[in-house]
Amino acid sequence: MPHGIKISGESCRGCVNCIKACPTEAMRVIHGQLHIIDERCIACGECLRICRHRAISLEESEWNSIAADNRSMPLVTDPALCTQFSWPPDPGILKDILMDIGFEPIFEDAALAFDLAAMAQARILDEHDSRELPMISTYCPSVVRLIQIRFPELIHNLSPAETPLETSVDLWRTRHNRYDIPSTLVAPCPARITMAIRPVGRETSSIDNVVSTARVAKEILSKNCSPSRESTIPGRDSRWVHWSVSGGEAGHIRMFEKRPLKTLAVSGLRNVVGILQEIELRRLKGVDFIEARMCDMGCIGGIANAESPFLSRLKVEDYPFAREIDKEEMAILEDLYQAGVWKLQQEILPIEQIPLGKDMAKAMEKLSELQSVYAELPHLDCGTCGRPTCRVMAEDIVRGEASLDDCIFRLRKRMGDLSQELNELSKRFVHTMTPEGKE
């Protein structure tokens, strides 16, 4: 499935908790089974958080088959993985451990790719015409998809920089000339999984397998892996860890600024929707860059993590950000910047939503029909019809996907009316009866 989650039909009880938690009204329960409308799902993972029957799970690759592969597979991880353990979020420590369990962690390429993405975005912002700002980060795939679906007019505000997780695999493959071996990504959320299955802004993802942060953390902890050395002073190879916490990307970009950049970091579903509405209304004048993350506190808040996001944040806050940059590193970054490897390969396009009718006249007709259908419904948003709200139900009815009798309150009323009619009918006299009721 293209949304990074899968539904277990057996476990799904048809309760409607998830459809009501879905921010884009992408879920329906029909005949007791959950359905997801692909072109509306943003892979935010809210449904996973709320399901009590474990009917929704992550669509991750089979760990055992990855682990069974004897080749040392290139592995790139979302920085959130570094924050999952009792030791400091030093990528160096994690690298040793991942090598012990048979992977080739490509952390040098990752560090370079994250630096490059930060630098490239700072460059763009330095040169950008302020009328087209703020620029919105494309790092969170769920935010990008929300914009494609609900805020298509903000698509040209999206940053042209690709997520450094993709870039790092590209860099590794080019450097080692290894195109024959599959790559693995460790992901903290369904949206990151989706990135590998259905990338946006490039034809095919550089990533072949995706496993969850929790799965890898469990593997590491169950093997009793522990740091082989002390944490070192954070250097340039560890700046990327900060991208796991809200504000990390924005801070990294400001490290490369030539003029003072105004950046905002926003996290959590409600806040993200709020900020996008404000950009849409052009109320954010003077803001250059917006780092928006669908999960509270950033990627450490992703549903596929094992560690408490609060502890994760503490660890990252205690782990200094290395600001110094030397000439040699700057020269490497400059070369890569000129080569354009940080750029999205394809334009991001809106995801078209199906209008009510095929032309405006038809759509207007349907709209007034929708209003009268809506007036018939109880406005309780109970969810029993399998739709999150009465408004959505009214829309599904005029689209021909549901009937008014699917509303339990409407059905109840009809049954009441009908039984009253039956009762009245039963009292009617037939000609063989006398008014006293004797036959």
């Binding site: 007019e153 209304l281 209008p355 032309d359 829309e395």
Partner: protein, 159 residues
Amino acid sequence: MNPLSRQEPYVIQREVKPLDFLAAGETASDFKETLKSLGIPPEICRKASIVTYEAEMNAVIHGGGGIIALELAGDRITIVASDEGPGIENVSLAMQEGYTTAPDSIRELGFGAGMGLPNIKKYSDELEIETELGKGTTLRAVILLDPSGEEVSDLCRTV
């Protein structure tokens, strides 16, 4: 003085309560979603959303609440905001960027920066303001569905 009785068809009408900053913006996003469901291009929806938002804020701050209506007919979207507030003393001054009569208490909340009417003018294709001191204000902002001026289908007139 309800302009809606003169001009049909209207699609949605919403009441805006005075000084209700929490609900501010709801009408704008409601109108936007409606326009989107009709398949109207995003940029047009955005313009309508901005105009609605500013008109809504004017009614919230100055107008003592009011009615905002979205009308759809032929080649145009019309946003009509009417209130029974104090009226605008000097319309041409109010159209200037940064000119404001909002009290400090509202400016402290981050509203009333004197950009309302200028923004409405900027994002609409036609703007008409009727105002009478002590009686109220009615604002009609038109957004053309095809701003290039070419005739679009007048199918909607039949609705």
